[in-house]
């Protein structure tokens, strides 16, 4: 199967390429990339005016299968990913049962083969049953295809367990992804501890609860030589700790969500449960520090923490609603509108955040359009203006804080392994 993508602006930071090129995809790989390719008889798509990028990878999603299929399934979640411009996702293991053994990794991969629209890379649990006491069978899970380890949804609360996990994961050269939350400091908090939570009478989730864990993890990564990846980093202080950790040579990486870049805790002022997530939306100074950390390279990746919940589960009192928002179908428009068009970073850096870095962190052979690379491609229309309409999401859930937002820039075509899985040009 061959496909010729013509006349697009190819943005491939891994090869330093940014310009108008033709791209020939063949047998699931990038066959050629040249200024002009003549390939008679090959299906050609004219992408003039559009940007051709290595496939975007969302390294932090919750596909909810097995166990919570009323929220999302591998079929609907990967359709949402394709619609949002992602060619691959890494799914977190807080399912029921959790992904803490080879058999569950294999189940997820089997479902993905059968029903998945984009590539699915399972993240295995750090601890058996996500209970935070004994290591899960990381080797067996890695052999089956797990691309990292995390107890996401929960932190690895025990420093001793985190140390062992970082040491042990070195065998497989895979990262331990931590949801950094010191539980005794969060203690039931549901909103960023600050003026807004005080005004609304909501229990505070202080930023320092994240900072303490980020610093702990950096120290442990330094001590063990393991690779730690901070999930959904949300505070300015934590960004600074990562910046310093990197400067001293520690193997620490981090991701930030689009919602923490686009919103502050003011979004909960009307007790909107679609703005309730963990970690919570922070104050403006944190948001600004995260934008600065995006610009200066401290932040490695943007990941959505796509966390679907049924409308009935969210339609309750604020304190009782589950944490989480969907993100797969709004991430690219948010990044293009709030980062590119707002002048925070250029397009190559956005591709780095959404493709190159996630591939590097999860040791995936992806994130570039060099000849020989996988034919995973995301095509962007930088000027396409869309209004976020949750009713049109491919995801099974619609819990977004961005309903009604008008955003400039969108993914208009998604190609996985040389096959077009989404086309909205």
């Amino acid at each position: 199967m061959r496909l010729l993508l013509r006349n697009g602006r190819v943005v491939d930071p891994a090869s330093g390429r940014d310009g108008r090129f033709d791209l020939l995809l063949e047998d699931g790989k990038v066959a050629r990339i040249e200024e002009r390719i003549a390939a008679p008889g090959v299906e050609a798509i004219d992408l003039a005016g559009l940007c051709v990028c290595p496939g975007f990878i969302d390294m932090h999603v919750h596909l909810r299968e097995p166990g919570h299929e009323w929220k999302e399934t591998i079929a609907t979640g990967t359709r949402a990913a394709a619609a949002g411009g992602f060619t691959a996702v890494a799914c977190m293991p807080n399912t029921d049962p959790p992904i803490d053994s080879r058999s569950v990794v294999e189940f997820v991969l089997a479902q993905a083969r059968q029903h998945g629209v984009v590539a699915v890379h399972p993240i295995g649990c750090v601890s058996k049953g996500q209970k935070g006491s004994e290591l899960a069978e990381m080797g067996d899970m890695a052999a089956a295809g797990a691309r990292g380890f995390s107890d996401d949804g929960k932190p690895v609360a025990s420093a001793g367990l985190m140390r062992r996990a970082l040491e042990y994961a070195r065998i497989f050269d895979l990262p331990v992804i931590d949801h950094c939350e010191e539980p005794t400091l969060v203690a039931g908090g549901v909103a960023h501890e600050g003026e807004t939570a005080t005004r609304l009478g909501l229990a505070g989730w202080p930023g320092v609860a994240e900072d303490v864990m980020v610093q702990r993890d950096i120290l442990l990564a330094d001590y063990t030589g393991g690779a730690v990846h901070v999930a959904h980093l949300s505070t300015g202080r934590a960004a600074d700790l990562v910046r310093r950790g990197k400067a001293s040579g520690v193997r620490v990486t981090c991701e930030v969500t689009p919602h923490h870049l686009a919103l502050t805790d003011e979004a909960i002022a009307s007790y909107d449960t679609n703005a309730k997530m963990n970690p919570p939306l922070r104050e403006a100074s944190d948001r600004d520090a995260l934008l600065a950390a995006i610009a200066d390279g401290t932040v490695d990746a943007i990941a959505t923490d796509h966390a679907p919940h049924h409308a009935d589960e969210k339609c309750v009192e604020f304190g009782r609603a589950p944490f989480g928002v969907v993100g797969l179908e709004t991430a690219v428009p948010i990044c293009l509108d709030r980062l590119l068009h707002a002048g925070v970073v250029g397009l190559p850096r956005i591709v780095d955040l959404l493709s190159v870095a996630p591939a590097r962190i999860l040791r995936l052979d992806r994130g570039t359009l060099r000849p020989g690379a996988a034919a995973d491609v995301t095509v962007l229309d930088l000027d396409r203006t869309t209004v976020v309409d949750p009713a049109r999401f491919a995801s099974r859930s619609a819990n977004t804080p961005f309903a009604g937002w008008t955003l400039r820039g969108a993914a208009v075509m998604t190609i996985v392994g040389g096959r077009i899985v989404h086309d909205a040009r």
Binding site: E195, T198, L200, G201, D312, C315, F318, G319
Partner: protein, 314 residues
Amino acid sequence: MKLASPHLLGIEPLTASEIGLILDTAEGFAGIAAREIKKVPTLRGKTVVNFFIEPSTRTRSSFELAEKRLSADALNFSTSTSSLVKGETLLDTLRNLEAMSPDFIVIRHSEAGAPHFLARHGHTSIVNAGDGAHEHPTQALLDAFTIRRRKGRLAGLKVAIVGDILHSRVARSNLFLLRTMGADVVLCGPPTLLPRGLERLGARVSHRMDEAIEGADVVMMLRIQLERMQGGFFPTLREYASSYGLDASRLARAAADAIVMHPGPINRGVEIMGDVADGSASVILDQVKNGVAVRMAVLYLLAGGEREAAAPER
């Protein structure tokens, strides 16, 4: 003049003139308790559901009495009798209540924002009778009414609110109201019970009680709950009482004509000593008495009443 909203969800959205309207209207209702026939026909034919999902004796009784004195039909729907214990969601409970066509739902709930949830999803006038640690607007209104009757004004007064500010909806509603009306508010308690950002809400903050009540015109004590000690916010009730309890010698630091308030129920010997609670500065029982008139005024105004019509029999 009327209130802008059909709901009373909190003090924070109210303007000074709306607060003044409620207090002035309450003056008109205050005399009813002294009459032979303690009832006016104002809300005859209206139905009020008192939907209390958190234990309350004082507030629920006060609302019920206010409703009865306005000739409204009151229906009490509380935790033990409510189907919420059976796992029904708040939304479904609201729909069931609204199927019975009430005119008002007075809600007490342990979760902040629950009244806002009802207002957003329903079509009945909602009165917040206390939502989590957020607001307790009728308490702040009856406190203001009590202060105004004693002091003749609110603007320029120095008010010290002492105790568990972190978990207190009374403190928040009073802060919003008193700041809107131009009073000077000091919030005092151990740093473990003072939430972040209070200064940005217009309060002065202190963790030394002697300093906080120096020259105060009003000293408002908050109930301390035993659970807070178990939650590690302070070591013992004994130590709390010695640092933040109001006794006669501390009260002497306040203005000579200072009044002492408490939303009740009081813990004698903990946040307030018995002699102070029973002393001449205490207006604690006036607060309870005034609560009925203030709640009558709120219901009357939310029903669309005009101030002029409120006090025909004054």
